[in-house]
């Protein structure tokens, strides 16, 4: 569309390069060159952009391993025919799949192939001069004319000064300006502005490449660890201390700063009527190597910086402090057990695994719920408030072999009941034991006794260090700035010509002007009028329609083709 609007004979840097003839030369090099030309063409870039948009869609339709592995498992169980095929085709990890990566990598190759020649071209254009004044102004989208009493040379020098002067943006030359003596008393000025437009465009695209590189660097250099900390306890920043630890292939574990972090207390507040969460604050003590312990807080949206890493508060719950004594009177288990909240009133689920400490004892598994504020509903119990106003532990009892001695790592939140038997009452119902803080209850089947000592809070912390985030942010902001410049900085060329005339009625000098803009430019006509009015040496008449014959008259016409 722009091509049709551009006057002929102006196919320099302003115009788009004509389509290269795509005649494949014979031989491998020729084909490679042809493929490269295709890949770096705008048409293929457009196609790849659309493909990228389409390829990103399945990730919102099908569960993704990286975000919710349990949903992927459920999906595979539900779709036994399609599931394995989708899995093979990478639909459960779309954003790391071969086809998704291929699209964005091709897009970036295409981008680089397109941008690099443009950078070279633009670097030349930045040193270049505005194009010479065209002989005829007839076909330009914006035109104007006027009369002046001054000599052509004076008029043109004045036009050059007006064009050079900063306009709107202080201290920045508006136009690059050349004055031409065209002979026979005719002078002209050519001016160009808006190199920023192409600069912004190139900066935007190059910043996207930088962004991709920074993200990739972050993938290689980052580490992330998750740890659950009970109030009154702490942990040290070492890989072995984390419940889960994940790192990029270029990360060096010995670079972990060995700070320690202890959870002193945890505060939570909830809306009294809707019970929705309002605030979570973890009060911690941070001890960095060689420094005194420092009190600090961690809140949602306010991570703590420790040893170069960021510590996020990702979850919280209750960890009942339990002590189990076996039938021989030995303490077989003692300590806080984190229970995982299942709903907004913190009905929490957990498992206690009690090993055999004295000879001849069975291993014991306790599984059940913690209710922070328990209310009896018929035969069952439920929680009505997330705060521990009347906490109650409801547990069932299993005994036998927990599988602790096999050496296979176990999920601490589930009980493998394959080699366990559940304690039951005489009428075959599972035995349920109820515990409130301070209670000690005898376990059934002579297994021993359990004491509910206290109910401390715990927090789930997420530690992450990605040294590239600063670069990612810097490139993203550079891209934003470049984008704004490329879309909003007008690119214009103006020409003004002054020549003497013998017709002295309206002033001895005829001034004509033309303007050309790249793309849509609503301000072009106003700009031409402004420059022309200042050039003819007279402020425009206060009324819009000066009477004919006034010297210094300006008439601009719009001729958008």
């Amino acid at each position: 569309m722009n091509a049709t609007r551009r006057p002929e004979g102006l196919d320099d840097a302003f115009a788009e390069a004509p389509a290269e003839p795509t005649v494949p030369a014979i031989g491998l090099v020729g084909w490679a060159r042809w493929a490269w030309r295709q890949l770096t063409s705008m048409r293929v870039a457009l196609l790849l952009l659309m493909l990228l948009a389409v390829a990103a869609v399945p990730g919102t339709m099908v569960p993704q391993r990286a975000q919710s592995p349990e949903k992927v498992t459920a999906f595979l169980a539900a779709h036994t025919t399609a599931g394995p095929w989708l899995d093979r085709l990478g639909f459960f990890s779309v954003y790391t799949s071969v086809w998704f990566s291929a699209i964005y990598l091709l897009l970036f190759v295409s981008l680089v192939g397109c941008i690099v020649p443009r950078v070279r071209l633009h670097a030349g254009a930045l040193r270049g001069r505005p194009p010479r004044t065209p002989a005829r102004f007839g076909r330009f989208p914006a035109q104007g004319s006027g009369r002046s009493d001054d000599e052509p040379r004076v008029v043109v020098e004045r036009a050059a000064a007006v064009l050079r002067a900063p306009h709107r943006v202080p201290f920045v030359r508006a136009y690059r300006v050349d004055v031409h003596d065209e002979g026979q008393g005719t002078w002209s000025v050519s001016a160009e502005r808006g190199y920023l437009r192409e600069t912004g465009n190139l900066v935007f695209h190059l910043a996207l490449v930088g962004l991709l590189v920074a993200v990739a660097a972050g993938q290689l250099l980052h580490y992330r660890g998750q740890v659950l900390v009970v109030a009154g306890h702490g942990f040290a920043n070492a890989q072995s201390q984390y419940d889960t630890f994940e790192r990029g292939s270029a990360f060096d574990p010995s670079s972990l700063v060995p700070f320690t972090l202890a959870l002193e207390s945890f505060d939570s507040s909830f809306d009294p009527t809707t019970l929705a969460a309002r605030d979570f604050t973890a009060h911690v003590t941070l001890t960095e190597p060689g420094a005194a312990p420092q009190p600090a807080t961690i809140k949602v949206n306010h991570p703590l910086t420790a040893g170069g890493a960021l510590v996020y508060l990702q979850g919280n719950g209750y960890a009942p402090d339990l002590q189990v004594t076996d039938a021989a009177g030995q303490v077989a288990f003692s300590g806080p057990v984190p229970f995982l909240p299942q709903d907004s009133v913190y009905t929490s689920r957990g498992v206690v695994k009690v090993p055999d400490v004295s000879g001849g004892q069975r291993q014991i598994g306790l599984t059940g719920y913690l209710l922070p504020t328990a209310v009896q509903m018929g035969t069952g119990w439920r929680s009505v408030n997330p705060q521990p106003q009347d906490p109650l532990l409801v547990l069932t009892v299993w005994s036998g072999d927990l599988g602790l001695d096999t050496g296979v790592p176990q999920n601490v939140y589930t009980l493998d009941t394959a080699k366990l038997t559940q304690s039951r009452t005489a009428d075959g119902q599972p035995v349920t034991i109820l515990l409130r803080p301070g209670d000690t209850v005898q376990l059934p089947d002579g297994l021993g006794q359990v004491t509910f000592k206290a109910l401390p809070r715990y927090v789930a912390l997420d530690l992450r260090d990605d040294p590239a985030t600063g670069w990612v942010l810097a490139f993203a902001l550079t891209a934003l700035a470049g984008l704004a410049a490329s879309l909003f900085a007008p690119r214009r060329r103006l020409w003004i010509r002054a020549r003497s005339t013998t017709d002295r009625d309206q002033g001895p000098t005829v001034v004509t002007a033309a303007g050309l803009a790249r793309g849509d430019d609503l301000g072009l006509d106003d700009e031409l009028d402004r420059v022309l009015a200042a050039t003819v040496g007279r402020a425009p008449a206060p009324d819009d329609d000066p009477p004919a014959g006034t010297s210094g008259e300006v008439s601009a016409q719009e001729a958008r083709g």
């Binding site: 919102t60 975000q67 879309l487 958008r560």
Partner: protein
């Protein structure tokens, strides 16, 4: 009356005002169609071929000629309908603004925390942009589309998305609630007006070119085509299209709106990533909402590229705008209500 109740009442009033504005703009549009048809039939029977011929000439681009060819000697608009449309539209914007402010006071925070509030502010921005765009010239069709979408969105908000005004959960307690969500809403409002303008552009383009998909046989579906025969873009029902600015002026308007929208959308992505880094410990995690925002960004980027690609500018680029707007809407509704992700803040069960 509490501030929350007052807010709801004001939103209902605003919806009513917008409905009246919608009726006024529709009347204006119908009046234009009616009068230009009347004028055409009052003129010689050869009037229509001449008009079509002129339009074709204008499209191939004779400098300065198109405006004269398609602009009739006098305006055909209904001044009264336009006056009602403008004044009730402005009144609605003011009422909605008051409603949003009252909502913020009632909740004791910036009112962009759930779908109800997002819709309210989004409609406010769309109608505000419409008022600004219409400041100099009336665009009844754009007004009908934008006001229509706004009335539907407000009704949906009041009847489906409504939740009580209250404080927000810890993850939303951040100034990014103002910046990230606020800019996302403004971008959505701007995209809405840009979409309306691109629809108008395509219709006008079809009429200028004198071509309709209803002219050719649809094969097996031909009965459907015959049933729709009255809705040819070249036919009388679309005579009002002769009154709207030329397709290229509309294309330029669409582009300017979408340029602004795209920059705002880019900021939404970046701001969202910064907030995600603060709240969730990662700047990008392919959460469904992040993916949706990314897809919309890529589609609008494709539009910007299509505009400068030979063979893709004009109509085809406008179709990409429609896809982009559909993605923006789906990203707001489907992703919030159907898909579970970290952005499930609708507050609806």
């Amino acid at each position: 009356m509490s501030a929350a109740d007052l807010s709801t009442l004001l939103v209902w009033f605003a919806t009513t005002a917008f409905t009246i504005a919608l009726l006024a703009w529709t009347t204006d549009l119908a009046r234009i169609a009616e009068r230009s048809t009347a004028r055409r039939s009052a003129a010689a029977p050869v009037a229509e071929p001449v008009a079509v011929g002129a339009a074709v000439g204008a499209r191939t681009g004779s400098a300065g000629g198109d405006r004269a060819a398609v602009t009739p000697p006098a305006p055909l608009r209904s001044a009264r309908a336009e006056g009602i449309g403008r004044s009730t539209g402005t009144l609605g914007v003011l009422l909605l603004l008051a409603g949003v402010v009252a909502r913020g006071i009632a909740a004791g925070r910036w009112p962009t925390a759930n779908m109800y509030e997002f819709t309210l502010v989004g409609v406010l921005v769309a109608m505000g942009v419409l008022t600004v765009v219409q400041r100099r010239r009336a665009l009844p069709f754009v007004a009908v589309v934008v006001t229509g979408i706004s009335v539907l969105a407000l009704a949906l908000a009041l009847l489906v998305f409504y939740v009580q005004a209250e404080a927000v959960q810890p993850a939303l307690q951040s100034y990014w609630l103002v910046l990230h969500v606020g800019v996302a809403i403004i971008a959505t409002g701007v995209f809405t007006v840009g979409f309306a303008s691109s629809v108008l552009q395509v219709l006008r383009d079809g009429r200028e070119a004198g071509r309709s998909h209803l002219d050719r046989s649809w094969g097996a579906a031909d009965p459907v085509r015959r049933a729709l025969a009255g809705w040819k873009v070249t036919g009388r029902r679309f005579a009002w299209l002769d009154q709207v600015p030329p397709a290229r002026a509309l294309e330029s308007l669409t582009f300017r709106l979408l340029s602004v929208g795209f920059v705002l959308w880019t900021f939404t992505l970046i701001g969202g990533a910064i907030w995600a880094e603060h709240a969730w410990g990662r700047y990008w995690g392919w959460d469904p909402k992040e993916v949706g925002t990314f897809i919309a960004w890529v589609v609008y980027a494709a539009y910007l590229h299509a505009r400068t690609t030979r063979g893709w500018s004009g109509r085809r680029a406008a179709f990409i705008v429609w896809v982009g707007y559909a993605v923006v809407l789906a990203n707001f509704t489907v992703i919030n209500l159907v898909v579970t992700g970290k952005h499930s803040y609708s507050g609806l069960g």
